[in-house]
Structures are given as structure tokens and as C-alpha cells.
């Protein structure tokens, strides 16, 4: 019950098929305003090729899984959902080969994804910031906790971590950080993530947020958050 499509170099169609091909093509025409080939080409811009599996799930949501190739070698896999009715996308996971480090490949993936989401009328991207680095990295990339409740839960974790290093901070620093952790405003996460106070061979923001897990979102109507994200992914210099 899926559609699949293979895109070769220069965006050429290599293969296609699947029982849902017609439905997925219709979804693309409705929400992306162009057909499935154009949708796939936009997602694979700046890459040599990709194999994509697409599936329509309930309420017109599209699930996309994609393998990305560069010079004949698989370099990345990504999975995400697009829910145009809710104007929302969910980034499930993305993995890349270590060889893609310093090639900017992850930026190209996020840029291509942004192009598609924009044209599908998506206004927010959500994800679960987790694993070892996710809790810190996504905060630095402009994502904020989805709800005040999410922030309150995370703040509890941060308070406990802060307690363990309180003696290493100067009174003024500790005072400012405690003020942020106690705040009900989820923007406090960004304030903490960017903190440059040196703690245990790293920064305070990184020390507190590494290893945490929270549900995050990037709201396209939140100008400062979007600007940070666009700068990080290399769209804005």
C-alpha cells in the first residue's frame, strides 16, 4: 500500500510504481500544487539520486521515507510526515554517514525539506529532540518546547542538573540561571541553551541540555526562531 519513486542524477525519473502511486500523485497535485515527480525532485535537489517510499496515512497525511545517494553511495536516510490539513510536519529521524561531515549534506537535506514544506503550506515543524545530542542541538537550531507543559517537565530535569553544578557557578551566574529555569516561559530554553558559562570543559547550555528529551516545534510565524533556523541551515547568511 505504498508508492515508490527513484530519482537519478539531474532529477531524472529512474523508476516508479506501487499500489498508491495514483493517490500519492493526487496528494502532491492537491497540496504541493505540482505532481509527484516535482515533489521528489524538490526533495533531492543537490543530490545525485534518491529512492523514496511514500504512503498516505489517515486524514490525508503523507509519510515519506527516503534514501539519498551521492556519487552512487547511500549517504543518508530520512523519514518525515506531512499533515497539510493541520499545516504541520513531523520530522521522525534523519541519519547520515560520518563521511558527510563537513560536506554540508545535512544542511542541504534540511533546505530541500524546507522548500517542500513551504510549498505544502506547512506552518510548523515538530520533532522529538532526544538521543545524546538532540536536546541541545535542536534548541540551538531555534526549536522550542511544544507546550508550556513540555517546558515545565524539561525545566524540572534542568533544575536537578543545575543543582549538581551549582557550587561551580558564580553567585550572579547561578542567580540568572535559576531565574530562567524557574520561568514558565518556554523561551527560557533558548536562553539557557545559548549560555556560554564554562562548566566542566563545556558550556553551561550544552552541559544542561545534552541527553535531555523534549517534544519541540519550530513555528514559522515566530520570526526570531525562524531566523535562527534559517541561519543555522545556511539559507540566510
Amino acid at each position: 500500500m505504498t508508492a515508490f519513486i527513484g530519482i537519478g542524477s539531474r532529477g531524472g525519473l529512474r523508476s516508479f510504481g506501487g499500489t498508491q502511486f495514483a493517490q500519492v500523485n493526487r496528494w502532491c497535485t492537491t497540496w504541493f500544487k505540482r505532481d509527484l515527480i516535482h515533489f521528489s525532485q524538490a526533495l533531492t535537489l543537490r543530490f545525485n539520486g534518491a529512492n523514496m517510499v511514500l504512503r498516505l496515512i489517515s486524514e490525508d497525511r503523507l509519510l515519506v521515507r527516503m534514501q539519498i545517494f551521492q556519487a552512487g553511495t547511500r549517504i543518508a536516510s530520512i523519514a518525515f510526515r506531512i499533515d497539510p490539513q493541520q499545516q504541520r510536519a513531523f520530522l521522525s529521524w534523519t541519519v547520515l554517514t560520518p563521511a558527510t561531515q563537513r560536506t554540508g549534506a545535512f544542511r542541504h537535506i534540511l533546505q530541500n525539506l524546507l522548500l517542500v514544506l513551504r510549498d505544502c503550506g506547512i506552518t510548523r515543524i515538530s520533532l522529538v529532540a532526544s538521543l545524546t545530542h538532540g536536546g541541545y542541538v535542536w534548541a540551538i537550531y531555534g526549536f522550542l518546547p511544544e507546550t508550556a507543559g513540555q517546558w515545565a517537565r524539561l525545566a524540572g530535569v534542568l533544575r536537578r542538573k543545575l543543582l549538581a553544578i551549582a557550587s561551580e557557578l558564580k553567585p550572579a551566574e547561578l542567580d540568572a540561571v535559576q531565574k530562567l529555569v524557574a520561568s514558565p516561559d518556554r523561551l527560557a530554553l533558548r536562553a539557557l541553551a545559548g549560555s556560554a558559562i564554562p562548566v566542566r570543559d563545556t558550556t553551561l547550555g550544552k552541559h544542561l541540555l545534552m541527553g535531555t528529551e523534549w517534544k519541540g516545534e519550530l513555528d514559522f510565524s515566530d520570526g526570531p526562531s525562524v531566523l535562527i533556523y534559517l541561519k543555522r541551515i545556511g539559507v540566510v547568511p
Binding site: 536516510s77 541541545y136 533558548r190 558559562i197
Partner: protein, 89 residues
């Protein structure tokens, strides 16, 4: 005693097309099929590469000045608080 005749061109050509003689008389048993070794590609989460990128381009780690100003305004942080939190050392 007769002299062994020298090989002719036909003999050479024929020899080239004849299958080599095998010592065994029965067909060798088929080799058991071994699963084809899968090419193992190691992948890492994108977050790991994003972090490596942040650390190599250290100027990107801190927040933009305008965002620091906005945060300070929202949370009522004094300029001393801001200096304590975000000053580069």
C-alpha cells in the same frame, strides 16, 4: 620405435576448446549457499553532525545579539546577567 607426430594447427585449436580433464569421475557436490555478505554502512544521527558543525564553526554557537537582547528584555535580565550568561571567555 615410431616418432611422435608433431601437433598440427587443428590439434591446437581442438585442445583449446576441450574441457580440461578432471581427476574425479563423479560430479562434485554443490557447495552450500552462503548468505551474501551485506555491505554494512554505518550511519550516525543527523544531530551528531549538527553538533560537530556547531563546534567547528564556533562563531555560530552563541545566540545572535538581537536574540540575546530580546531574551534579556523578556526575562528582565540586567546587562550584568546577560554578560554573565553569554559573554565569551
Amino acid at each position: 620405435m615410431t616418432k611422435k607426430p608433431a601437433p598440427t594447427v587443428t590439434d591446437f585449436v581442438t585442445a583449446a576448446y576441450v574441457a580440461p580433464r578432471r581427476a574425479r569421475t563423479t560430479e562434485a557436490p554443490p557447495k552450500p549457499k552462503t548468505p551474501r555478505a551485506r555491505r554494512s554502512i554505518k550511519f550516525v544521527p543527523m544531530e551528531e553532525l549538527m553538533l560537530a558543525d556547531l563546534e567547528t564553526t564556533s562563531n555560530l554557537v552563541s545566540l545572535p545579539t538581537e536574540e540575546i537582547d530580546r531574551i534579556a528584555q523578556i526575562f528582565g535580565l540586567s546587562s550584568d546577567d546577560v554578560a554573565a550568561l553569554y559573554a565569551r571567555r
